[in-house]
Symmetry: C2
């Protein structure tokens, strides 16, 4: 594992990274698929760096519906306080999408400079800016998907964004069908029904997770 492949330590020498991780009192943990990594109702303010695998930030409601708020791939980062307002957190969890490794760092280590004032800390702060900007873009894309009024429009909007990302009319879904329904916040069976109609109307083709917009 190369820590400088992660978004937070990008552009920093591997040895400097190791030194900083020690200084930041970073802790590494391993999880298996389906494990709950943390609960955003906890008050502790830390960030999690996903060094292998991928995780989802989910919200569960009182009726048992699950919604995926964020999907975080390898080398991505999650954390309550730098993205959600203090008042939310109830019902929000980070769960493993597959077996994964996460490095935890308490947030104040990132934001407040330590006495050693190492130069590479500036790079971390600058990377943090890029991460927050990137997160905004992902949140806004997701918001645009959810602002669509019908299941079909949500699906098409989501597919168009993925298509633009891959610069092709064909692309691989980063989700299972169940997870896709949770991401667009609709009932799974209703989504399947709509996808079937869309295939029949020749708007899309689907093969496992590979989607093509026609």
């Amino acid at each position: 594992m190369h820590i400088n492949k992660t978004m937070l330590f990008k552009g920093i020498d591997e040895n400097d990274c190791k030194r900083m991780l020690k200084c930041f009192k970073a802790e590494e943990k391993n999880y298996k698929s389906g494990d709950t990594i943390c609960n955003y109702s906890e008050k502790t303010d830390f960030i999690g760096i996903v060094t292998s695998g991928s995780v989802n930030v989910i919200r569960g409601d009182e009726n048992g519906n699950i919604s995926i708020l964020e999907h975080i791939e390898e080398n991505g980062l999650f954390g309550k306080y730098f993205i959600y307002p203090a008042s939310v957190g109830e019902g929000i969890y980070v769960v493993c999408d597959c077996a994964c490794t996460v490095i935890f760092i308490e947030s104040f280590h990132i934001t407040k400079r330590c006495s050693k004032a190492c130069v590479c800390h500036s790079t971390v702060v600058s990377n943090m800016f890029d991460i927050v900007t990137e997160k905004s873009k992902e949140l806004s894309s997701h918001l645009i998907v959810l602002s669509c009024r019908s299941t079909r429009e949500k699906l098409l909007c989501c597919f168009r964004l993925l298509s633009a990302q891959s610069q092709s009319t064909s692309f691989e879904l980063p989700f299972s069908a169940t997870a896709l329904a949770e991401y667009i916040c609709v009932d799974r069976s209703a989504m399947t029904r709509e996808l079937k109609k869309m295939k029949e109307e020749c708007i899309i083709t689907m093969n496992k997770r590979k989607v093509t917009l026609l």
Copy 2:
């Protein structure tokens, strides 16, 4: 108008602000209620600082439905490139909520340091970080609202967030009824019907824009 009341120039001396605005080739424009300020499908990369009034970032779909993506109050900031991914923009507009004044600055002036290398530019960059963080929090709150499956849950979720913000069970809606429906992305008449039921079930009381959670 005090430019250092805005989020971007916070903490900077008024004279320095004026000097920077000149250096940034800032342009001020006035609008009246309902005016379209800009269209995010345009390629120009600028930010807009709302120095008076308030604006909404909206998205219109092919059926004529309007969704409010962001609501920006006085001293807030809008801009396509620091928040939306390059592929979106089609159908997204910034419109005036009421008469307002906006200062436009091309983004590269903010991100790229000019040769004069003034100290206060660092404060602007640091403020920009805070603004993006703040935006993330607003986007994530909105996302949580839209992740709710029913109109009632969307309303309650939205009301609970506003209640937490005002630290009271009573609060003033920042929206008209029509705009609230556009913010939670549901049909206005269906929303009114649901609000009526909620009043009858003694879950809320409403008086004009003042809402109380019971």
